[in-house]
């Protein structure tokens, strides 16, 4: 049987009519969380098994909110199925009548349009339609074909799934069941016949009765002990599970503590790193003197200028002084060739000559006002002056100020900074490099921080962890106490049971010996044969069950080794386990013959998948389902796998050619503008068909905007 299409009309997020057209082989539905994958699954489930309650919750809010349309509208899910060259369209629908305070819905009806091999068509309703539905997709098959989420894959979880269910659905072993009851019944009857016969003969009646009573007594005791043991064993198992959970809790809490510490550490590093990253380059221009980066040439020019000024200054001053000196000299030379020293002739002589107006040196008159007279006056003056204490006479200067000295010292001291200026370029480059390194460092820290935070979220999601460790500790103490109590009492009970069993066995032997002596031989013989018949029936059935389990186990391991290519190297083991009054199936992983403890989630999922696929293959071989193959529908079965493993898994499923519809959020990502995209890697996933579910412009606060679109890829 394959599903050809599924149509959803106004069903939850599927506004109006939306259709999935499937083909045989692998069909992949991609969609981010909340975009409609699970609603698709729920749609199909509702069609197959849905009940009549709360239909209003299934109505598309967007359709409800349409104001311009007050007419009643339909809500439906339909599925087109092909089996044995026959075509079936199943449609479950109801009408929504009014919209005042929500939806008022009619009851639903199931309709089937069935076209047979000859092309003849018939319409069937309700019960008949249900019957056809169960024929095409039997409930016991559905149970092993549709899974919502990774957790549901574990169908054998804590023995919830009875072996007999599986057998009933998929194995011929079910036929052997009835015979066990028959065999038991016949044996009991035969035994009773013998007993009655013995009782009638008076010989050993008394002894016989006594023994029978004892046997009954002890058997009752035995049974009650056994049932106590069963109950206690169940309790023990539960306690052991709780202890395991607590352990995981501690591990999680421990891990959380460690991760929290790491997160804090990274955050600290991050803020330190951020602080160190330089952003005030403009201020550094000033603070670090980077402004002077190209100043060297100007410095040199300045130095040269000041230097030349200084030289010029000296030169001019020199020249000036020389000039001045020269003038002085020539002035003096003009007046005398070699002037007589002062005081020659003497003052008295000079005064005498002056008063007589006659120079007695050159023997001529020197009248008042004549050159000779004036010269004599001058000589007298000079002499008088030379006797006076000397006054420092202010020399005439070229330069009034000395601005240059300050400039000179400025030039001098700044020249010492030239080395610093030369190193600025390198300093700037170094600062940038350092900054780049800091930024790289920062982004490394941010990546690490993100990783830890994701880990943290994962663990929290798994375990609602952060529960009070103290309360868990006290529970664990109590559990451990109970555990050892039960184990002790079970030990005692077991001993009791063993001794009682021995007693009963001995009593029965004694009874047998009386029987054989006293009862009619053919009754004894009949009894013996029927005992053997019962044994044969029971043991043959067990054998069939075991064969069936082995078949599943073998197939599961074949598949397992394909899915799990690069990881775990062990195998799956299926075994029977008696729990209470039914047999359950245990699914374990073995590595090198030893039980593999605590497999991680993805390994568990792979194990479950392998078993489910094995069951599906076996189901297709079972004669009572004439149609062979059945599709399987999975909603997000590989959440724990990651992208690469999911890819490998999907490629593998594709190679089986059976119709598998798998919905996943893997491969849905976002581009740099935040828009949803399908990751490149998806193009290498081999499949028959793929669909992309997207919610159109969704407003979180307004549910009436929800509308999922289906885009084939």
């Amino acid at each position: 049987m394959i599903i050809q299409s599924v149509k959803l009309e106004n069903f939850q997020c599927y506004y109006d009519k939306k259709e999935f057209n499937f083909s045989s082989g692998l069909n992949i539905i991609l969609g981010d969380n909340g975009e409609g994958k699970t609603k698709f699954f729920e749609g199909v489930s509702w069609l197959l098994d849905g009940n009549r309650y709360n239909l209003d919750k299934l109505v598309s809010k967007k359709k409800l909110s349409e104001e311009y349309n007050n007419d009643p509208f339909p809500v439906s899910v339909s599925m087109r199925v092909k089996m044995n060259n026959q075509d079936y369209i199943f449609k479950k629908s109801f009408i929504v009548k009014s919209k005042e305070e929500g939806a008022k819905t009619s009851d639903f009806q199931l309709v089937c349009v069935h076209t047979n091999e000859k092309g003849e068509r018939e319409n069937v309703l309700d019960d008949k339609a249900i019957q056809l539905l169960d024929e095409t997709f039997p409930p016991e098959i559905r149970r092993y074909s549709m899974f919502k989420g990774e957790a549901e894959l574990d169908i054998f979880k804590s023995g919830e799934e009875a072996l007999s269910n599986l057998v009933k659905s998929f194995s011929d072993a079910k036929y052997y069941d009835k015979y066990c009851n028959y065999g038991k019944y016949l044996r009991e009857k035969a035994e009773k016949a013998v007993d009655n016969d013995v009782k009638q003969s008076s010989k050993s009646k008394k002894e016989f009765d006594e023994i029978e009573q004892l046997i009954t007594l002890k058997s009752n005791k035995l049974n009650s002990h056994k049932s106590i043991l069963n109950k206690e064993t169940e309790n023990l198992e539960r306690i052991k599970e709780d202890l395991q959970d607590a352990d995981k809790h501690f591990d999680n809490a421990e891990s959380l503590k460690v991760i929290k510490a790491r997160i804090a550490h990274h955050k600290e590093n991050k803020s330190t790193a951020q602080k160190r990253i330089v952003t005030d380059f403009t201020s550094r221009l000033f603070d670090e003197k980077w402004l002077l980066i190209h100043f060297e040439n100007i410095q040199n020019e300045f130095n040269a200028k000041i230097s030349s000024f200084e030289k010029n200054r000296r030169d001019e001053e020199e020249r000036f002084n020389i000039e001045k000196g020269k003038a002085q000299l020539s002035k003096e030379i003009l007046e005398q060739v070699t002037p007589l020293p002062v005081g020659v002739p003497t003052l008295a002589h000079m005064k005498e000559m002056l008063s007589e107006e006659y120079c007695k040196v050159c023997n001529r008159s020197a009248e008042k006002g004549s050159n000779a007279y004036m010269y004599m006056e001058k000589r007298i003056r000079e002499f008088v002056d030379s006797q006076q204490p000397k006054q420092v006479k202010q020399k005439e200067k070229l330069y009034r100020f000395n601005y240059l000295s300050k400039l000179w010292s400025m030039s001098d001291s700044s020249t010492k900074q030239v080395l610093k200026i030369r190193s600025i370029n390198q300093e700037i480059t170094d600062a940038f490099d350092f900054n780049t390194r800091l930024k790289t460092n920062l982004s490394d820290i941010e990546i690490k921080l993100e990783k830890e935070e994701r880990e943290f979220q994962k663990i929290i999601a798994k375990s609602n962890a952060e529960e009070d460790l103290v309360s868990i500790y006290s529970k664990v103490k109590e559990w451990r106490r109970q555990e050892s109590n039960i184990e002790r009492s079970n030990g005692d009970t077991n001993k009791l049971i063993t001794s009682l069993e021995m007693d009963v066995k001995k009593l029965k032997e004694r009874k047998e010996s009386i029987d054989s002596k006293d009862a009619k031989s053919f009754l004894v013989d009949t009894r013996s044969i029927l005992r053997d018949v019962e044994t044969i029936f029971f043991e043959t059935r067990e054998k069939k069950y075991d064969e069936f389990l082995q078949k599943i186990e073998h197939k599961a391991n074949e598949i397992f080794s394909n899915i799990n290519v690069d990881d775990f190297t062990g195998e799956i083991q299926l075994s029977k386990e008696v729990k209470g009054d039914s047999e359950k199936i245990k699914v374990d992983l073995l590595e090198n013959g030893n039980l593999y403890d605590n497999p991680n989630q993805s390994l568990q999922t792979t194990k479950h998948m392998a078993v489910l696929f094995a069951i599906s293959e076996i189901a297709s071989e079972v004669s009572s389902y004439g149609s062979g193959e059945y599709p399987m529908i999975f909603d997000a079965p590989t959440s724990s796998f990651g992208m690469k493993k999911t890819m490998d898994f999907l490629n593998l499923v594709n190679s089986t050619d059976k119709q598998r519809i798998i919905a996943t959020y893997e491969f849905v990502g976002r581009d740099s503008s935040g828009n949803q995209i399908i990751e490149e890697e998806f193009s290498s996933v081999k499949r028959a068909k793929a669909f992309w579910l997207k919610r159109e412009s969704f407003d979180k606060n307004d549910l009436s905007t929800i509308n999922t679109t289906i885009t084939p890829i």
Binding site: Y175, Y179, Y182, K189, F522, I529, I536, T540, K544
Partner: protein, 76 residues
């Protein structure tokens, strides 16, 4: 092979048949009809039971009595 014949085959494959009842392969009947005629009481019993279970025509009690009668009549 019909289902009841398969059942007979499976049941008669049990070791008890060979070990305790010493019935060799040769003597194991191929189908239920033959089995019901067998001279071995256990084979006869099993064959009749199968016949009744797969095609019930009698109540359990009646079957039981039938078995008894069969067993009574056949020599061991």
């Amino acid at each position: 092979m019909t289902r009841k014949d398969k059942l007979l085959k499976d049941y008669l494959a049990h070791p008890l048949i060979q070990d305790k009842y010493k019935i060799t392969d040769r003597r194991i009947p191929k189908n239920v009809d033959d089995g019901m005629m067998s001279s071995s009481p256990i084979i006869k019993a099993i064959a009749h039971i199968i016949n009744e279970v797969e095609y019930p025509s009698k109540s359990e009690k009646e079957v039981e009595q039938l078995i008894r009668k069969l067993l009574n009549k056949s020599p061991l």
